[in-house]
Amino acid sequence: MINQGSKVLLDVKNLKASVDGVEILKGVDLTVHAGEVHAIMGVNGSGKSTFSKVLAGHPDYSVTGGSASFAGKELFALEPEERARAGLFLAFQYPVEIPGVSNSALLRMAYNTLQNERGLEELDPLEFEDLMQEKIKVVEMDPSFLGRSVNEGFSGGEKKRNEILQMAVLEPKLAILDETDSGLDIDALRIVANGVNSLLTPDNAVVMVTHYQRLLNYIVPDYVHVMSGGRIVKTGGKELALELEERGYDWLRAAA
């Protein structure tokens, strides 16, 4: 929801980034206020996934120019874990499987890290279990998933739901959802979208990175940005996504 005068959460200016010496982002500008939902769309290779990874601090990418402030902090001066503690969250396109680490142990460790950061009490396993009983409802997840190793043997849909469960537990200021809709059937898509919607407040924001308009039927964006050739080449309202669905991306690529 767009609120005049709400706080700026993320302010990216002329961001340039490369991987293995190849420049992928060639000057990205994006401002996200509290309460807003943004969608970044574009074809494969347009740089949209790179953008989300650069914001989260993936070590394979180097920032070569521009700046980004997040919640009043210089984002690129922070380690990935410091970004997370400052309230940035990335839902991964391909969530990793971690055999031997239980989902609940990881969630509790991550949650307590944030509690420390916020100067709040850590939760012991029993207290945390109570919290989890509430949180798993957000993504309609079977409690047995909590005791299993992180993402091990999960279906594609279950992995994505698990990402949203982590978001529900960590309550980030800004969540970046990287292709969260890819590989989801329609039921899983609905569950994931409902989960995200239930977590939206006037104080946080969501940036969805997606190829398809489909997700935006469920999580309605305030702004739609089109990325092409490492830049945002067009910004509009939710109707822009529909136009893209109809016309494809070629007309914009030509414009860029």
Binding site: P59, P99, M109
Partner: protein
């Protein structure tokens, strides 16, 4: 005299505990064998990866007066609801032991108290060959006492054999010994636990723990055998196990090596009867300048044996882990089914892992598979954990723990699994 010769001569100055007639004969033969064999040469094929020179820097003295510990001293090593035998520097401590859960059908006792037992006389020294191995020979001659576990029927409570080494002014040599005899159709869980008692002083305790274990499984017996080596980081540990598996028996071993400056565990399992199963799981988790060597040999001597093996090494710092696993399928051992996997994690550029899976097959009609991998911490998993707020150190530690957990979780004693897991996460190893 070289350091190596001096070290050996010093060990030979130990004294053998007084004992019954037949054992005196065995000890004498073992001592003669030790003298003849001496320390294995670095050119010996089974020892070429293992640098014993740090051991030779010390002269190890026999323990003559035994320390008295209280239950509070060893509390952190205790396994709840177990039948417990405790040895302090190789000597049996009746006070610290708890045999109340040993019901009928099971004998858990000091070996020296059982020298009159026919099973002890029949099996002691018959499986771990003191004529072939100097360390086995030294143990056989010098052991002060040991554990004797004799099971008929099924024992629900795990048998916990705890060897505690105390700190002494001069480096000491201790010789843990164990004999397990499983009668036909019997079931049991035995935990052998080698731990250093860190007193209040911060000084490192140097000692040499030279252990020998013999296990006999009669027809259709099942033993779950756990071995935890958590000696002090400046100690030396050489352990040898010999297992004989009769018809239809199932032997499952989970052996962990965490401690000691230099450690070696050699385990020799022989399938003597048709259809026996042997499952060997191992983990070495080391750092600093530690050396941990695991040598295993599984022999399929008769038909339709089954063996599985999963061994993991995790090496940090400038440590050196060695795994050599040999599987021999003898002539006539038809229908053998064997798999072996060696998986390794290198945590530092200065650490070193040697892995040597070996298959020797003198037969057809068998199924044998083996493989080895060496990897590093998965970069994607590391980034994922950091993106959830965990520090680099915490994330690496968690991933290391997860790699180790696959082995530790195989221990059939949940309370021990939990306490080892907590220790690992806390100690940041």
């Amino acid at each position: 005299m070289s350091a190596r010769e001096q070290c050996f001569e010093q060990l030979l100055l130990g004294r053998a505990a007084p004992s019954a007639g037949w054992l005196n004969d065995v000890r004498a033969a073992a001592l003669a064998s030790a003298r003849a064999l001496n320390f294995p040469s670095e050119r010996h094929d089974d020892w070429r990866f293992t640098d014993l020179s740090p051991l030779f820097q010390h002269g190890f003295h026999p323990v003559v007066s035994f320390a008295r510990l209280t239950l509070a001293d060893i509390e952190k090593f205790l396994v709840a609801e177990s039948i417990r035998l405790v040895f302090v520097d190789g000597s049996y401590s009746a006070e610290l032991s708890d045999l109340t859960r040993a019901g009928s059908g099971v004998v858990v006792k000091s070996l020296i108290e059982c020298l009159g037992d026919q099973q002890v006389e029949n099996h002691f020294g018959q499986h771990a060959h003191y004529l072939q191995d100097a360390f086995v020979a030294l143990n056989t001659n010098f052991f002060e006492d040991g554990a004797f576990v004799h099971v008929a029927g099924a024992v629900a409570a795990p048998v916990h054999i705890l060897h505690i080494a105390t700190r002494r002014e001069t480096p000491s040599a201790i010789y843990p010994r164990c004999l397990v005899v499983m009668e036909p159709n019997s079931h049991a869980t035995v935990i052998e636990d080698f731990a250093g008692h860190d007193g209040n002083d911060k000084q490192d305790g140097v000692y040499f723990s030279n252990a020998v274990t013999e296990v006999v499984l009669k027809d259709y017996a099942q033993l779950r055998h756990v071995r935890v080596q958590r000696e002090e980081k400046s100690a030396f540990h050489i352990g040898h196990g010999s297992v004989s598996a009769a018809k239809g028996s199932v032997y499952t071993s989970t052996a962990l090596a965490f401690g000691a400056r230099v450690s070696r565990h050699s385990l020799h399992v022989t399938q003597q009867g048709e259809g026996a199963e042997m499952h060997l799981n191992g983990l070495a988790l080391i750092t600093g300048r530690q050396i941990a060597d695991t040598h295993t040999q599984i022999e399929h001597a008769v038909p339709r044996g089954k063996s599985t093996q999963l061994h993991k090494c995790i090496a940090d710092g400038a440590s050196h882990a060695i795994f050599s696993g040999k599987i021999v399928v003898h002539v006539g051992a038809k229908g053998t089914d064997s798999t072996q996997s060696s998986r390794n994690l290198l945590l530092s550029g200065k650490a070193h892992i040697d892995t040597q899976p070996q298959l020797e097959i003198f037969n057809d009609d068998v199924s044998c598979k083996h493989g080895a991998t060496v990897g590093q911490i998965d970069a994607d998993a590391l980034f994922f954990l950091k993106s959830r707020g965990l520090t680099e150190e915490r994330a690496r530690n968690l991933l290391t723990h997860a790699f180790a957990a696959e082995i530790i979780d195989k221990i059939p004693v949940p309370s021990l699994v939990a306490s080892l897991g907590r220790t690992m996460l806390k100690e940041n190893i």
